[in-house]
Symmetry: C2
Subunit: 397 residues, 2 copies
């Protein structure tokens, strides 16, 4: 009988997927389910992107260059130059979303059995990509108590060993919403230098920072030329998750060359999506002003509302559009399921992501859930009321 | 100093890429370069696909389901049912082209250090995917002398060891054009049963068979329910290489479940490309009649023409749109480069793919090139004349 590979057996199921049938059943019972479980923004995609699809009119939908359309690589370079970061088109390799960019980054620096450091709670799919690559993710735990700040050098160095090849992190962060300060980023750079590691910096939420907080790109670190890989994507920035266009950037030519060869193996990114992405990257920076203002307002409604519920606490995240919320429950997987199967408040309920899937040791997330504030302030105020009622009614495990 | 992973070092460069700057330089000198080096069909993409892009008009380009849009999975199932193959929508996982389908197949059955058997000359990117996965490709050599027929059971079994997990093959074949007979396919099925292996059957050229030759799908083998994975794509079938939509199929639920979890890790395929692919799969089978007739005519012009040149020989391939051509040269890499750098015939030259990249031991391909007959018969007749003149003028290494 055919046996799956060990990595296929270990490949995690989505922490959210298990709940989908329950959400579907709740909807079938007539409930309105507010989806806070996935980072799918409701912000409109720039119309110029949509028009790019509508303009497509070739006779043969042909292969493009493996590293991406030159006009897209140029547009990405121009976007970075506009953000004060010196990235040339040659340093850009276009990928299938940020997902493939992470896969390329892991594959370029780590062999099977090697280790990559991550700060937990972490973006759950890092684990899937590590398992697929045969690489071990080693987690340093962050705490809600200090708003999921970067752990101390001592805590980080305690996890660095001879097999450690890289540190992967996301700032502004999914799922924490934390934005690493310039000092924290400089510390990461110094640690990478000291231990000869690559920094894999997931910067897909770069524009999503609130209260005037400044986001430091790893590309601005002194070690950027040698040991920084940036993962990026149009998905969140331009509310275009379905375009699946991202890129992996490195200024170290050995890394760029490795990414190029990885690009060649899978031929090319999708042609028309890239044409749309060119338009996305031409979106003026002013586009983000309204978007950021809106998300900041949403964050405040959610965070203020949740912190006013007895037993509930969440730091006020400075970026992205997620909050890790500590709940007065013993088992957030059970609570999230119960919300869908046994609870309703005036014919409504909510779907949240239990935080167990964002930790290397699921127990660490047992009292937490990730909430994506991708709905408008009115809906979020309502959702706070629903959660308040739910926590009052919840009988526990 | 940062070191690349071993797999990144080993990741092969494209066998063709090295020649691209020489082709560009030839064009800059005013030469017309006939591209026979890549399987980019010149056949028109079904207009309904193009219209699907042009019709796209959502406000938010959102994530789709990880396994693919339900309507696409249904359309793929219907296409297979129409081809007499029992595939349900639940057995379809939509991928980024056939490329991701191969990656998923390798990852699901083999761990780092495991082996997958392949018949050489093989599709060069199998090697890239194996290197990325840390898997060893073990090649059984096929010969031009018998038209690249499946090797004998004894030759295949000589390469099967305790680490062998699967056999990957492509029929109709890239780069050989060979179509395995039903008897050959049954032999593969029996070998898989005997040695408890998975058959990874790359069937992206299914419709491209000539002279009335019938293509046997691995899905029709007795072992299909347990141990067959089919890799498929819209790229060649619908001349839509730039859509990057493929799928991986398995009837064994353990495999399908593994593919689903792999799909979840990278979120979803591109939304609009899938809408276009739905239209592609609805293309009536009659679409292929003209296409197949055209390719058969092209093949005959190319094969008859080449075999009439002294010292040149190629089997008459029964499928796909490639021919492995044995040339009277000592080093096909040198010859292919020379065609671009030092030769022209009435201001024209040709670009071919040296066959060295299609073998595990490059020396095996030193006297061969792969020619993709993706140009019309008039151009191919002209190309035969150019190659004849080139071989007369070629001074050798």
């Amino acid at each position: 009988m055919v046996r799956l590979s060990t990595r296929a057996v270990q490949m995690p199921a989505s922490p959210i997927r298990r709940l989908v049938p329950f959400a579907d059943a709740a909807k079938a019972r007539g409930l309105h389910v507010h989806h806070l479980n996935i980072g799918q923004p409701d912000v409109k995609t720039p119309r110029a992107m949509i028009e790019a699809y509508r303009r497509y009119d070739e006779e043969v939908l042909a292969y493009g260059p493996s590293q991406g359309l030159p006009a897209l690589r140029d547009a990405i370079s121009a976007y970075y130059q506009g953000a004060g970061l010196d990235v040339t088109a040659a340093e850009v390799n276009v990928t299938f979303g940020g997902s493939e960019a992470v896969q390329f980054a892991f594959g370029a620096v780590a062999d099977p059995g090697d280790e990559i450091l991550v700060f937990e709670p972490f973006y759950a799919n890092y684990l899937g990509f590590a398992v697929a690559a045969g690489v071990d993710l080693v987690a340093v735990t962050q705490s809600a108590d200090d708003g999921f700040a970067l752990p101390s050098d001592a805590d980080i160095e305690a996890k660095i060993g001879p097999k450690t090849k890289a540190i992967v992190f996301c700032s502004p962060g999914n799922p924490t919403g934390a934005v690493y300060s310039n000092e924290e980023m400089q510390r990461l750079g110094a640690l990478a230098e000291k231990h000869d590691l690559v920094l894999i910096s997931d910067e897909v939420y770069r524009e999503f920072a609130y209260d005037g907080v400044k986001v430091t790109s790893a590309l601005s670190l002194p070690c950027a030329d040698a040991r920084v890989v940036v993962v990026d994507s149009v998905s969140k920035r331009y509310s275009a998750c379905g375009a699946r266009v991202g890129c992996v950037l490195a200024k170290n030519p050995a890394l760029t060359d490795a990414f190029m060869r990885m690009c060649f193996a899978r031929l090319c990114p999708a042609t028309v999506d890239q044409l749309a992405a060119i338009e996305a990257y031409r979106t003026p920076p002013s586009y983000f002003e309204d978007v950021v203002r809106e998300y900041q307002a949403r964050r405040d409604v959610l965070v203020d509302g949740l912190n006013a519920i007895e037993g509930v606490s969440t730091p006020r995240p400075a970026g992205a559009f997620y909050a890790i919320v500590t709940l007065p429950v013993e088992d957030s997987d059970h609570f999230a399921q119960w919300l869908l199967t046994d609870f309703s408040h005036e014919q409504e309920t909510v779907m949240v992501a239990p935080a167990t899937g964002f930790y290397s040791v699921p127990e660490l997330g047992k009292q937490q859930a990730r909430i994506a504030y991708v709905l408008n302030t009115e809906a979020l105020a309502r959702i706070v009321e629903i959660l308040r009622a739910a926590l009052r009614a919840y009988p526990g495990v």
